[in-house]
Structures are given as C-alpha cells and as structure tokens.
C-alpha cells in the first residue's frame, strides 16, 4: 500500500509545476485502477484527501494514533486543493483564525525539510491595500491584533507600497498593511507532503474510494460504507470539502453541515518580459475585490465578486462539474479592477481563467468539531476559500479534539454546534453564501447583520414590533429587535450606516436605556433557548446537581444562576435554572446554545426513560419587563402583590397576567436592573403584550431592543456566554465564585479542576475597563478583540464592549493575563496584579487609557429614586 502511495507522490514530483499538470489534465495511469482490498477496521476513518483531510491525518498520526485510514474519492489533492491559488495569509479577523494561519505558515515552512517533498514555499509577504479611510481602520485593527500574537506586520504609507511591488498604481491609496511573513506555497504539494508524512507514521491512504455513508448505531459511529466495502471504525472525520454537506446528509441519522459552493475564478498569465521575482509580495486589494500574486514570472489574480455564482445546490451534479467553464463576462469587473491597480499589465498575455469552486459557510467561519447527533462523527470543512491558510492549524485543533476530547484553544466560533438543522436548507445556504462570498472583501464594521436568510424564526409579536419601528438582528435564525426607530426619526441607509465611529442609533438606544432606568421597557427575548427537565423521582435533581456547579437543591420557585462546566472547569454553558417543582426544572440558556447544550445534556444524562429532557424554546414567548415600574405594571395586570416581600428577586411563579393564566413570571432581567421575565405560552403572547403595553402606558412603557440590553448588562459587568465566556473560562476566572458551590455535598463536573484552581490561583481574570480619555463622538468605538495593555505590555484582549449611558463612558470587558516577561509563560493573576496596573485599550492602533475594575460600579445598583429628583418631565409619557 505504501508503495502504491509513493508512486502517486512520485508522479506528482516529476512535474513540479502542478498547475501545468492540471491544465494538461494528466490522466491517471491505468495501473492505479486496480482495486486493493480495504482493511476491515480502523480507529479513525478520514474522508477527503485534500489539504484539510491530510492535515488531520498528519496531526493525528503525530499525536501517536496509528490506526488511521484516509479515503479519497479521486486522487489525492485533486479537488479545490489542486486549484487553490496558494496564498497563505495570516491577516484574519478572528484571533483563532490568525493563530491557525500562523501555525499553518510555520508548519508548511518546515514541511519540505521534514518530508523531502518540494512544496514551493516562498516567503513573499503580503500587502493589503486601503483605498478608503474606513478600510485603513479595518486594517489597523487587524494589525494591532496580529502584533500581539507575535505575527509581525505594520501599517505603511502608499509610497512604501510602491517600493514593495513594481507595478502597483498607488495614487488612490490611503495606506496599506504589510505582513512580511506571509507566503505562497503549492497547496497540492503541501497536501501530498502531509500525506506522505502521515503515511510514514502509519496512516493508510486509499484513493479512488468513495464513502457512501457512515454507519451509526445508537448515536455512535460504528463504521463506514464505501464503494469498495465496509470499514469498522470508532471515529469518522468528514473532510469532504464542498461535498461535506451531501455526505453529512447521506447518513441514516443526518449530520447537518451547512456549507455551499460558489464558483471562484482566477486568472493565470504568461511570464512578463522581465519575469516577476518569485519573492514579489502578494497584493490584496479588498476595495477592488482582488488578490494578485506572482506566478511563474507572470501573475495569478482572482477575487471575490459582488455577484457570486453558487453551484452544486442540488448536490454533486456531473453536468455542472463538466460545465465549469471560464466565464470571462463574469470576471470582467475583477479584470477591470486588476488593470486599474496594475495598468502596466495591459500587454501581458493571458494563459487561462481558472474556475475552481470554493466552499462557504453561513457565517464565513469554517466548520469543525463533533456532530451533536452522532458521537464520533467529526467534521472539518467549509474553509471559505482559506483552506490553505487554515488547513494546518485547523487540522491540529481537530486532532487534539479527537484525541483529548477538546482542542487546546477556544474554537466555539468555529464549532459545528453553533449551527443546527435549521441552517441546512439548500435554499438558505444558496442565498446566504451569495452574501458571504462578497463579504470576504467587504468592509467588516461593528454590528454587521446578514441580510439574506432572514425571518426564519420569529416571535409571534414580530409583526407588532416591526410595525412599531423595530430594527432586527438575527441570532441562530431568530429575529431579535436591536432598537426601535421612533416614527419621526430618520436613520441612515444601510450602506451609509457602516461606521467604526458613533453609530446613528446612539440617541435612540440612549432613550431606551433611560426608560429602562426610570420607567419600564419591554424587550422581546423569545430567542433564548429553553429546556425543561423532569423526572418521576429525584433523577432530574441528581443529574443537574452533577452537571451544574451551583446548588440546585433549592426550594421550589427559586431561580439559580449557574454554569454547566466541563471537566476542566470551563463553561460549556451559562444558564439560569428555575425549580418549577420538586422534580422539574426550567432552564434558560443563550440562543446559540440550542444545539450545543442539548448535545451536552444528552451526552451526560443517564439512559433513563423516567428522566425527560424537552426543548420548549418554541413553546414560550419571553417578554422582559425592565425598569422600576415593571412591578406596577405587573401587579396591575395580575391583582397580585409584586413587591419584594412577596416576590423576591430570583423567584419564579406561575400566575395570571391579564386574561391569560399560567404565565411563568420570574424576577430577573438579565441586566441587573429590577424587573421581570415573563415566559408566556405562545398563544397568549399577543394578548399579554397588548395588555402590558396598555396598562404600561401610564408608567411610560416603551419597546426596547437588544442594544439597550447590551449596554445595561455590560455596564454592570455581566458576562455573556459565547462572547465573554467559553469552554476555557472557569467561574473563578470571571469572579463568579458565588455561583459555584464546591461544598454542596456532592461531586459535580469540573469540581476537581476548580478546587485545584482555587488552590493555585487563576491565570487570567475577567476585568471591566472604563475608557477614560475616549471621546464618544470623535474617537473610534471599541468593538471586541481589542488588545489590552498593562503598563505598556500586552495582557489580553477585550471580549465585548458597550457605551454606558449611565457612566457616560465606554465599558470594555476582557481578560487580563500575566505573561512572564522572560519566557512569555502565563503566570497567576492576582487581584493585586489587576488593581495595580495602568491600562490602555488599543483601538485600531490608538491607545486609550482605561480604568480596570474587578467588581461592577456599585452606584449602578441603587435603584431608589430620591424624592427631590422628581421633576415635571417625569410626568410626560415616554
């Protein structure tokens, strides 16, 4: 077998210019066609012999796993990998993506040495051009984040750009970013090198073998059915690229992997008269939507056009594959853009326009991780045209995940479980990727919302709220109001409101926040994930006590904030649990936890028919009544005393509101403000909403949206799972010791880790920063991911930020680390360490002084209004 594999490699190596070979459509030798019997079993079966699949195989084998089979339907590295433009770029928007690309870069660089296979690796560096000031800001943000993780890069002037590249027209540029360590490499050769190294480590590779479907028994992978027979296995890794979606659906128990291919074009030219140096940097002109790299003395240039052509919507279609033709008319805007950027290339002769479909995902992030429905089924696909850049790093994380059960970095942003079946409609994917592909080069501004694939999940109040001026955002397919535009207010058009500075809704959200503080607001929060756990005996309590860190054995009617921790003490979920009765619990989690939390609970709950877990998200509409007058509204509607004596905070009661009975009322608001959450069976939603609005009128009630909620919770230092908290954050690191009952009388998941951490101290600390010298009107706004500097040294990044209308300052939340000055190793972060620093937050290269706080500003929690504060304007309706 190994010999046969080497022959593949040998054949590839005889022609180092892989592109030429692909043009010639080198037909595989007939000798390859003879079938070899597959092994009957293996520990891991990887499907896909592209750069991703080979990288996973490589890393698994390096971690000591030997019993691995890699299957490829055609030939190794012959899919998108073969046609890849070969640009390795570390300038990414997410830190995790930057890290993956950085790792890949280092991996590929030494690969030739390790395997002896030429990979064509050349460190060329890359230049990102900015035609507008906004673009430059975007580049500066990336630049400051690259620097802090150790990737050199700098912002340079247009003049300097001209020095880096001979043909660049720089007259319309305002600046650029230079990343000197970026590289170009032949991706097919990298894949072959990885395969070769893996094979040397014992991985068996079979090409021309298609996976038909994966065999599953009791939610566990048992084997793989191929066109050459069955293989029993424990783990299956789907690295099938653009066919991953189809493959996922082919199971008896379908695994939803939302991705979709689009045609992607790039141009190859013949060499210039004086051939371009092979270390000429790669140029990316996002405003012109193109990239340009040197290629065999000529250039290779492609781009991400505004009007992508989705392909293979109906699955693998031979007709479409054959018809993958050059479409020059489609390429025209990109060609114009290229000639505008490099006018001297007019006389350069065309060699070919290559059409290579690329795969995109609904949120422009790749997909990795274990399926929520089939354990042992792993996925790594949907690279959004960055397969080469991410392949190495992503393969490493996935290998760690398979071997250790979790990767060494937080990869929630890339986790397959952020999606559910609801994102797997072909129509949705087709429409969404048409928006995603242009987005790769679009300006990414704070608070961007997708425009396609919307209005999928809505609350019953959607139309009512929409008619009142609601502007919507989407989370996990659910429409949520951002804010409400008053009738007389004129907001900027969507395109114009793209800004890194103060947004146009600032005043609107201010009035909503003010209303929450002084009167009462209602926010539709129906998107929250809601589960009910019931049992006939004490099983529900037992399992919850084991899975959650706080003590859930509380009197009926009490609500407990608690974390669902993993073995390492990190947050798998952060939720509120109400004890409805002795044997039933109501669990509220963030919206995007619907799939992940369900999978986690299912995985850890004992098989017991008397223990029932039910997803009741769709059954309830949630209204959040925030504000000091919420109590008045509710007591008027229910004829029940709602004062703190009768209804203390964190309390849950079923009561009637208006005509509707059985409304679950909880005294909490997720913001730290006084008020109530109403969980309303959906058929009563409109009635209760109408009643609340009618009665609330005299208390100045108004609608509010998530932006107001966000401002309120961040100024009170409330962390949100998915944004601030993740699987690598423990309660002790974010000041939530009170939500952990280490001595609740029984063991729970993560307890040991927490005990140890309590003893050893924490290595990072969730901190609140109040920006001091930041001018809200004139300065760039923080978003998230901004580097934090302590005494001039980098200590971490922010995770979320908001403007606090009460403090009249920007508030950023983030983690403070303590990197050793000599080794860079992480050290214990003490309260003293945090308190004794001078802090700065870096927003796109500008540093703003910040005051660090480990506890929320106390004055924000005093709700009592002093009598002499009352003024006439309080009598106006809000």
């Amino acid at each position: 077998m190994f010999h046969r594999f080497l022959s593949i490699i040998r054949r590839q190596r005889t022609s180092p210019r892989w592109q030429k070979q692909c043009l010639a459509r080198s037909s595989a030798s007939a000798a390859e066609a003879h079938s070899v019997a597959l092994p009957a079993q293996a520990q891991v079966v990887i499907c896909g012999g592209g750069i991703v699949g080979t990288s996973v195989a490589y890393h698994l084998s390096r971690m000591g796993w030997k019993d691995i089979i890699l299957l490829e339907q055609g030939r190794l590295a012959a899919g998108s990998t073969r046609f890849c433009a070969g640009i390795l770029s570390t300038a990414r928007h997410l830190t995790i993506e930057q890290k993956m690309a950085d790792y890949s870069n280092k991996l590929y660089q030494q690969l030739e040495q390790e395997t002896g296979i030429q990979t064509g690796y050349v460190r060329t560096g890359s230049v990102f051009l900015a035609q507008t000031q906004d673009r430059l800001i975007s580049l500066k943000r990336i630049n400051s984040r690259l620097n802090v993780i150790g990737i050199p890069s700098e912002i340079i002037s247009p003049k300097k750009v001209a020095e880096l590249h001979p043909f660049l027209n720089m007259h319309d540029l305002v600046g650029a970013m230079h990343v000197p360590e970026d590289a170009v490499v032949s991706s097919a050769d990298v894949a072959l090198a990885l395969a070769s190294a893996a094979s040397q480590n014992g991985v068996q590779i079979y090409d021309r073998t298609s996976v038909l479907h994966v065999m599953v028994k009791k939610g566990q992978v048992t084997g793989v059915e191929t066109d050459k027979g069955q293989i029993e296995c424990q783990y299956f890794v789907n690295c099938a690229g653009q066919w991953a979606y189809e493959l996922g659906l082919s199971n008896e128990e379908p695994v939803s992997i939302p991705l979709h291919a689009c045609e992607h074009f790039y141009l190859l030219t013949r060499p210039l008269e004086t051939p371009l140096q092979n270390n000429t940097p790669t140029v990316v002109d996002p405003d012109g939507r193109i990239y340009i790299r040197n290629w065999q003395g000529g250039i290779l240039s492609g781009g991400f056009e505004k009007n992508p052509k989705p392909i293979f919507t109906e699955g693998k279609n031979q007709l479409e594959i054959q018809n993958l033709q050059e479409d020059w008319d489609h390429f025209e805007p990109l060609l114009s853009s290229l000639l505008r950027r490099m006018p001297e290339l007019e006389t350069l002769e065309i060699m070919k326009l290559v059409n290579c479909p690329e795969t995109f995902t609904p949120d422009m992030r790749c997909i990795m991780g274990e399926s929520p429905v089939v354990s042992g089924y792993f996925v790594l696909a949907g690279m959004n045209s960055a397969g080469l850049s991410f392949g190495g790093g992503a393969g490493k994380y996935l290998a760690e995940w398979i071997v250790h059960g979790y990767p060494s970095e937080n990869v929630w942003e890339l986790d397959l479980k952020r999606f559910g079946a609801l994102q797997s409609s072909r129509t949705f994917l087709r429409h969404r990727v048409m928006e995603v592909m242009p987005l790769i080069y679009d300006l990414k501004v704070p608070r961007w919302d997708f425009q396609t694939g919307r209005q999928l999940r809505t609350s019953p109040l959607y139309d009512r709220l929409d008619a009142q001026g609601a502007r919507w955002m989407e989370k996990h397919g659910f429409e949520r109001p951002k804010y409400f535009v008053p009738p007389d207010k004129d907001l900027l058009a969507l395109e114009q409101s793209k800004t890194f500075y103060k947004p146009d809704w600032f005043d609107i959200v201010e009035s909503e926040v003010k209303c929450c503080k002084e009167a009462v607001c209602v926010i539709d929060m129906s998107s929250f994930t809601k589960f009910e756990i019931t049992s006939t005996g004490d099983q529900a309590l037992e399992v919850l006590q084991f899975l959650f860190s706080n003590d859930l054995d509380v009197p009926v009617g009490h609500i407990v904030h608690t974390g669902m921790l993993n073995e390492a003490g990190g947050y798998e979920n952060d939720c509120s649990i109400a004890r409805l009765s002795k044997r039933s619990f109501f669990m509220i989690s963030p919206t995007d936890q619907q799939v992940h939390c369900w999978a986690w609970l299912k995985k850890h709950m004992p098989e017991d028919s008397n223990l029932v877990l039910e997803d009741v998200t769709w059954k309830y509409t949630a209204l959040n009544l925030i504000g000091p007058r919420a109590v008045d509204v509710l007591s008027e509607l229910s004829y029940a005393p709602m004062t703190a004596d009768h209804f203390p905070t964190l309390f849950c009661k079923e009561m009637s509101v208006g005509y509707a009975n059985g409304i679950r009322v909880m005294s909490m608001t997720h913001t730290g403000e006084p008020g109530f959450m109403l969980y309303i069976p959906i058929e009563y939603a409109l009635h209760v909403y109408n009643e609340v609005m009618n009665v609330g009128q005299k208390y100045g009630i108004r609608n509010a949206g998530y932006y107001a909620l966000r401002s309120l919770r961040i100024e009170k230092f409330f962390a949100f799972w998915g944004q601030d908290l993740n699987m690598l954050t423990t309660p002790l690191e974010c000041g939530r010791e009170s939500r952990v009952k280490l001595e609740k009388g029984m063991d729970f998941m993560g307890r040991d880790a927490l005990l140890q951490q309590k003893q050893n101290g924490v290595y990072k600390r969730f901190t609140m920063f109040i920006l001091e010298d930041h001018d809200t009107d004139l300065d760039l706004w923080p978003w998230w991911g901004e580097p934090i500097y302590r005494n001039g040294r980098y200590v971490g990044q922010t995770t979320s930020s908001a403007y606090s209308y009460t403090l009249e300052r920007h508030v950023c939340l983030g983690f403070v680390h303590n990197f050793s000055e000599d080794t860079g190793e992480e050290q214990v972060v003490t309260v003293d360490f945090v308190n004794r620093g001078e802090y700065e937050i870096d927003i796109a290269g500008y540093r703003f002084q910040a005051k660090a706080k480990l506890y929320p500003v106390a004055s924000l929690f005093t709700h009592k209004r002093r009598k002499d504060d009352v003024e006439l304007s309080d009598l106006h309706g809000k």
């Binding site: 141009l267 030219t269 033709q325 050059e326 479409d327 020059w328 008319d329 390429f331 025209e332 060609l335 114009s336 290229l338 000639l339 290339l345 007019e346 006389t347 350069l348 002769e349 065309i350 060699m351 070919k352 326009l353």
Partner: protein
Amino acid sequence: MSISALLSMGRCCCRCCCPRGLWMLSAPRCDDRRMCVCPGPRRIGIPVRSSSLPLFSDAMPAPTQLFFPLVRNCELSRIYGTACYCHHKHLCCSSPYLSQSRLRYTPHPAYATFCRPKESWWQYTQGRRYASTPQKFYLTPPQVNSILKANEYSFKVPEFDGKNVSSILGFDSNQLPANAPIEDRRSAATCLQTRGMLLGVFDGHAGCACSQAVSERLFYYIAVSLLPHETLLEIENAVESGRALLPILQWHKHPNDYFSKEASKLYFNSLRTYWQELIDLNTGESTDIDVKEALINAFKRLDNDISLEAQVGDPNSFLNYLVLRVAFSGATACVAHVDGVDLHVANTGDSRAMLGVQEEDGSWSAVTLSNDHNAQNEREVERLKLEHPKSEAKSVVKQDRLLGLLMPFRAFGDVKFKWSIDLQKRVIESGPDQLNDNEYTKFIPPNYHTPPYLTAEPEVTYHRLRPQDKFLVLATDGLWETMHRHDVVKIVGEYLTGMHHQQPIAVGGYKVTLGQMHGLLTERRAKMSSVFEDQNAATHLIRHAVGNNEFGAVDHERLSKMLSLPEELARMYRDDITIIVVQFNSHVVGAYQNQE
C-alpha cells in the same frame, strides 16, 4: 404666433401622411438654425417659437428642467399643446389629408369633442407665454424606463410538482400609448372549464369604447362557444337556481386593465342569451367542438350583440350612452387560442400574430399566422368588391380605405359601416343629446348604398406547434408599421434565449493580452446592459420599436425624444403599441410530438 420649424424624421408613423413623407414636404423650412433643436435628419423635430427669447434657445432654464421628468404633466403638455395645436391648424386642417387617425372624417373639431372633450389650448396658453421658451427634451434612462415599464405585465404559468406541464411557459405584455387615452386594449385569460389559454390584442379607433368592450367580453364568448353542452347546461341551471357559477376564465390582468362595472350586468345577460341559444341549438349529440368554428361564432355573436344593444338601448342613461359609444366606435382584434400543440389565431383587422421559429443553426425566422384585413391585402379588396354591386367597385375601396374612410376592412363596432342609413338616423335621433350633437355620428359615409360594408368575422388560421416554435408575438399595427417582422422575431428571440450567454468567450490557444480582453468585455457588457434593462420581452420590443436608430440599435436620445413628445404630438409619430409575447415550452411541445 409663428411656428419656426418642424424637422420631420424620415419615417413617419402616422397614418395621416398617406403619401409617406408628406410631412417633410409640407413642413415649413427652418428659418432660424439656432432654434432648431435637432438639425440632423431622421430625428424628431420639436416645434419652437422663433419670435421670442432667442438667447435662451440653447440653455434650458432651470425651472423648466424640472418639468421634464413629468412629460405627461399637464403643464408641459399644455405648453406644447399650444405649439401643436397651431401646427395642426396649419398642416392638418388645411391639408387635403385631414385626419391623423385610421378613420378619416370631417369636420375635424367635432371629432375632437367626441373623442375627448378638452379646453382650448389656444386660450389657455395666451396668458402663459412666459413658460414656453424653447426647450430640449431629454429624459434620463430611469425616466425612459419608468415610461416604458408603466404598463408591463408578465405571467408565468405556475409549475406543478416542479414541472410545467403546459405548452406555454408564460407571456409578457406591454403597451405604450400614443393616443390619450390609449385606444389599444389587451386581454389574456386561461380557460378553466376547457383547456387552453386565450390571448388577444385589440386596436380601437374613434375612441376606446369598442376596444374596451371587446377586450372584456370576447373571451367569454369564445370560452362559452368552446364549452361542451353539459357544462353549459350546468351553468345555466346554476344561474336559474341561484347557485354558485362555475368559473369560466382566469384573467391575467395588469392593474391598468380595467373592466366596466356598470355594464357588467348587461354584458352578462347578453352572454347568457348566447349560451341559452347554444343549449337550444345543440341537443347534446355531437361532443366535438371545432375551435375554428367556435372562434368565428364568438366573434360574430359579440359584434351582433354590440349592435343589438345599441339598437335596443338601455333605460339607464349612462349605459345607454355607453352602448352607443361602443357601437359607433370600432376595434380590430387578433386573438390566439393555445391548447397543447394546437394554436388557433383568429384575426379581424390589421393587428398581426407572428410566430418566432428558431432554426437548427440557432437563427430566427418569422412565420406570419394572420392576414391583415386592409387595402394591402388583395384578397380582402377582392372580397369587398364581390360583396357589393359592380357599380360600387370604385367607391368601396378608395385611397386604400373602406369607402375612403376606414383603414381596416374588418372590425367590431363601427355600426356606421354596418347599419342602414335609416337605422343610423333612428338610433341617433332617439339617442341621448351628446350623441345627437355629435357631428361625427350624424355623418353618413359617402357612397353608402349597400350596407353592411364591414364585418367582424375573423379569419382563423391553425398551426400545430413544433419544438422549434419558440414564441408568438401578438401586436397591434403600431408595432408592425415601425418594425419589420424579421427584426421583431430576431429581437425577441435573442432576448428570450439570452444570446450573450450562448457564446461565452474562451481564450483557447489564442494570444490575448489582458488589455484586449478587457476592451472586449467592456464592449460586451455595454451591449448586454440594454437587454438586462428589461425583464419583459414586450418592453424590450417597444424599446427597440421606438428607439431604434438606422443601425438597429437602441439610441437613447431618440428614445427619449419619442417618449417625451407631448400627447398632442405623439400620435403623429407613432401609434399606440400593444404587444403580447407568448413563450412556448419546447419540452412539452416536443413531448406531445413524441407521443404521436
């Protein structure tokens, strides 16, 4: 008031210049070059005053600039109306060829009041001279589009189970008015009790009353004629017992295509009488219904009903006046009935049905499916001469018109050419005052000896659809007189198939530089954009019909001028245009063929 110039374009669309080019000959010479808006040939000239404000002739003052988007805005049209009206006097009224319509008559002003009463532009503009500085007409592309697309309508045959089983994919229709109001009408409907779809264009003259009535009623008559005996019985029983009626037609209407509410009851009663007669005639033995016969019967019956309703009158004075207007105005009709591969075209008058056929090499050819009923059709002239005594041989067709007056030789309505003189006089005398005061209606055609001279009986052609038959164009003469049928078929054919997609560029083994490729692509895109502007084949055709230059490409300047003509002038350069483009489903047609 002096008119300075009217430079005519080479091709004049209006019928009044029977000797074509008369306009050019009789147009006064341009005596002030500066005042000529467009001195070149083949352009539309705009009449301007030479007397006042020559300095402003080149620069359009800002306030008037604002008017241009609103060409139909009365302000502007009035201003231009002034010029136009004088122009009429000068050229039309004093010339031997009086009328600009297909129906010629004297005296002219009476016609005007009959068709559309209006105030005197002359008086009105006396006090508004300040606004009438010479102007250039330019519409922006979006303005042109909004005019062209105002009446467009598209219908796609709904798909069942992902498959369209109908031989029709759908149709696009549109109309561009020249008359105000437009006298053309269009209809489209699916027969619900029988299979098949009906599509028709109707060109009215002497007002729009008749074409409106025919567009509302004719399809019901056809549908009823096609119904089997049992269905007719069932419907009649339902009416009798007050049960819910079976729906007969599913209309596909543009919002501007209205139906008269007031006459609905009257029309229904006439229709019911018709089907009652059909029931009585047919004892239910023969079940085969001949489409051709049904079409002819329906046409004749409707015309008969129109005539009868006018003779009988109606106690309601509004309705009474309406039925008279319908009867005294006229309309031609060109109707297609498509059922599977069976295509019938029934034509009365000079609208035309044209089949677009794609040859194996991809080129387009036109197959005419109807004959014009006018003086250009020798068979028609022959027919007329045969139907009347030899003594009338010279007068029955005179100057290419029926009795020297009417362009089409077959039409609905037009009772002036159908009723005896006695009947006409009796009806007019007993009719309402408006009718009695009207010079036109009182006027009896000359040499009117042996009525009827006119019939609504259609000529029906049958065509069995083949897979290469891609589409059918139904259009009123407004289109056919500006464009050759081959051009029509080519433009629609290329539009529907998206020619540019068929021939992608491939570099192949040629030496092409980036610059050359870029030039080529830019050119292709410019060409394509005119296609992409239209989502409707009929709109695309109108764009070409009105805006084509001598090279067969759409010239925006020309288009903009043609569309910004004030309504008084528009009719002189073009007629109402109404187009329906029906697209056939070659797969289904092919499947039919294979079955047999």
